[in-house]
Symmetry: C2
Subunit: 491 residues, 2 copies
């Protein structure tokens, strides 16, 4: 199986696409830019959803659901918001089909034209704040801490499976607060939740920081981001949390009476994380054998493969293997016994590697004799033989080891590919030849940022929260700068 994968060192983009297809995660559909998320890919999304949902609820949020469609006029209300999304909106103009009278088959019924066009939501701030207007009168109605799991559509011209698709699945949090301080605190809390999720579940080290004005969400006063480094040296924005100030409250006239009886506009945040994260998961950890999935998000954590020649051997192995499966399931692992008849062990081994199953157990006639099982870990491909009665305890520890090892490997990669650069010449050389994260001084102007982008395709991924104050000169303009910011080419 694995031989069908392009080597990632040869052609990273092709390796990625091969892997998504061969590991049965997703495929392109008949609709331009829209993907089909296949069961194995969707199972990863279900694990992401379940964990994030727990974290959202633990931080006081509840789920709700708002309409897919947004009246066109709603978009015009917040000027920078419409500017950010207008160019990629799918627009519903009619509500009926009919059989053509001239035999052209099914056509759009021209008499069923909508008075006002509807936009398929690219994000839901406008439709949600139009609802919040009716929900909020007093400070007693605040805060509102709502999350929505939904599909959204942005008409992207160049799409790639998971990373950039016209339709994608995501969650979008939309909160309303009585004070600026509380809204800022929420914005920070949620980038913290994303960072916790990325590092401790996806095993993906991230850098938290502020987006520059250029890179902010359309309509936000501040955007916080988590940025991860992929194995090809490109950055991937893995989640964002926006402080929206009173922009949407003003656009939709959402005012409340505060404790002192004064009217004020409501403060807002929004934050989102999408199926794009599956792309990040693949690109950060996987290798030329296939996926490497962190145990905490792997749909299948253990596969047991029987090694046999004769049917009576299989029967004897199956008894032990199924007992082990039950025992492992009781201990909380998700386990598959791969006793498919038409495939040889070698194929099954390769298949489990392609699918990124964290631990593979092999059981043959000699194992039966000795009361052992062969344990192979996916991340390092190392094998060892373990007494059957010690497997559960061993696997509990091993899963933790794998989770940590995958994270540490990605962290080491990032550390080795993060460069502190002080001259324009070095900047160009690193960007063109090595990629990775570049920490460099910047003069703080959008003009410089845009010129750097034009000349190198590198953008400022973020101004890291923890960037220490340091006097320096902008690598491009030479003007003074107080700290380094994070540059990279990105997905």
């Amino acid at each position: 199986m694995a031989k069908f994968l392009t080597n990632k060192e040869e052609n990273y983009a092709q390796w990625y696409n091969d892997l998504v297809i061969k590991a049965d995660l997703a495929e392109n559909s008949a609709v331009r830019g829209c993907m089909v998320i296949k069961p194995y890919g969707y199972a990863i999304w279900e694990h992401i959803q379940a964990q994030l949902d727990r974290m959202f609820k633990a931080t006081g949020h509840v789920n709700a659901y708002f309409p897919l469609f947004i009246p066109k006029s709603f978009f015009s209300r917040e000027a920078s918001h419409v500017e950010g999304f207008a160019k990629e909106c799918a627009v519903v103009t009619h509500y009926r089909l009919k059989m053509d009278e001239n035999g052209k088959g099914i056509v759009v019924d021209p008499t069923a034209k909508l008075e006002e066009e509807l936009i398929v939501r690219p994000t839901s701030e406008t439709i949600i704040w139009n609802s919040y207007k009716n929900w909020i009168q007093s400070y007693r109605d605040l805060p509102i801490l709502i999350n929505q799991w939904a599909n959204v559509v942005r008409w992207e011209m160049r799409t790639r499976l998971f990373l950039r698709t016209a339709e994608f699945l995501w969650q979008e949090g939309h909160t309303a607060h009585a004070t600026k301080e509380e809204a800022v605190e929420e914005t920070e809390k949620m980038i913290g939740v994303y960072s916790d999720f990325a590092e401790n579940y996806m095993a993906l080290p991230v850098i938290k920081g502020y987006k520059t004005e250029n890179e902010r969400f359309a309509g936000a006063l501040d955007t916080y981001t988590i940025e991860a480094l992929m194995q090809d040296g490109k950055a991937l924005q893995a989640g964002t949390s926006h402080f929206l100030g009173q922009n949407f409250a003003k656009a939709f006239d959402v005012q409340f009476t505060d404790k002192s009886g004064k009217l004020d506009y409501v403060w807002a945040t929004s934050w989102g994380l999408s199926t794009r994260m599956i792309g990040a998961l693949i690109m950060a950890h996987s290798d030329n054998h296939g996926l490497v999935l962190p145990p905490k998000l792997a749909p299948l954590q253990v596969v047991i493969i029987p090694i046999f020649k004769a049917d009576d051997q299989l029967a004897a192995i199956s008894v032990k293997a199924l007992a082990l499966k039950t025992e492992l399931e009781k201990a909380g692992f998700s386990v598959k016994y791969d006793d498919r008849e038409n495939f040889k062990p070698g194929f099954k081994f390769a298949d489990s590697e392609l699918k990124g199953v964290p631990v593979r157990l092999a059981m043959g006639p000699r194992d039966l004799e000795n009361g052992t099982v062969e344990v192979a870990r996916r991340d390092t491909l190392e094998k060892e033989t373990i007494p059957l009665n010690a497997v559960v305890g061993h696997l509990k520890k091993l899963m933790d080891d794998i989770q940590v090892n995958i994270f540490n490997k990605a962290l080491k990669f990032r550390q080795e590919n993060t460069f502190s650069i002080d001259t324009w010449k070095d900047f160009l050389e690193v960007i063109d030849n090595q990629g990775g994260f570049i920490l460099a001084h910047w003069d703080g102007t959008s003009e410089t940022e845009e010129k750097i982008k034009e000349e190198t395709k590198a953008t400022i991924r973020c101004i890291p929260f923890d960037a220490p104050p340091e006097e320096g000169k902008c690598i491009y303009s030479g003007r003074p700068s107080g700290k380094r910011v994070l540059f990279a080419r990105s997905y």
Copy 2:
């Protein structure tokens, strides 16, 4: 709170709408026919989803996700399918907005017209079978047992919250099989899952049966349904499972090689259950005080309300109440301690009744002295005083009692409102004056079925699976009939 509800005996439709709004389940949005599902309503849907998803997985199904949009041409491929859905399709024709040059604000960019219009899915058979074409070559690729959780759009002209909305949430199963027998078995299995879910979780007694040809899903050879009776004597179709034969396989040219090497078209089923079920839940069990929710699906199972005059009383009660809350949560109940400062106990009592919380615990100074708590059950509104140390055990039993009682009450209502009718005169009288289910003979023709519908608005809800053979004469035509079918007016 409850006094704001219209009495259901006075105006059932208004009572329903009041209840949905006052209990904070959902509201109409700015988009015609689309609702906002508010957090409390969505929490019920999350419970429905979680349980159904467990049942689907236990029967071997996996989840996946297919595109929101369907190319218009796909619809034309299955003739009866397009006929069924063409009149209510939202159509995407453009993919960009722009700022109007003449100052009219944001307009649809006429240069961004799609070559082929896209339909917002009303159901996904066509886009899914277009994918299955690439997934299925041999009998080894079968069966495919996929479910999708998704939003769908049907441009309904008259809408009602949950019961009939332009956009709704649902799950749609789409399975592919090598033989007709296996597909029929799947169709039966899934109507069984729905029936199990309706009766044992929603506490909603249902009648399983076949739809008549007129009432079948557009594109199905057979539709199985579960039909429930609402308190106003109208029926509600609560879930359907369709045997699609080879219709979609033929429309999308999906053939496979069977074990003997012969090519054949693949056999299909589809089955769906939607947010409409929340409407059924409300209408089947609730009363003039508000919602009555079955414990198995209630977002909140227990509310604890402190009764106090002075602040030091509240402090003493809170210690006990919070300890009880923790104890109940450990036992698996979802519990809220309602210590809101600005509301009196009477308001909180009414609020817990409006929201349908199955069990309310009240704790006052006397309870502190006596080591007791007052337990009120929502379904019967009965109260009793229980020793504090017996509450957990008592509630375990009580929740089961409530679950069963709600079901039995609904079953009794249905039994009392199911009429075996033998003459057209009686049929008219019952339909006009009493409503309910009518078991009557029918001659088996669509013509008669349509005339009965025209004259009475009653439809054949189903031909019950368990209808015993019985010689009789059609109530409308007088022609011979071999068994009774189920008539009702319906939602």
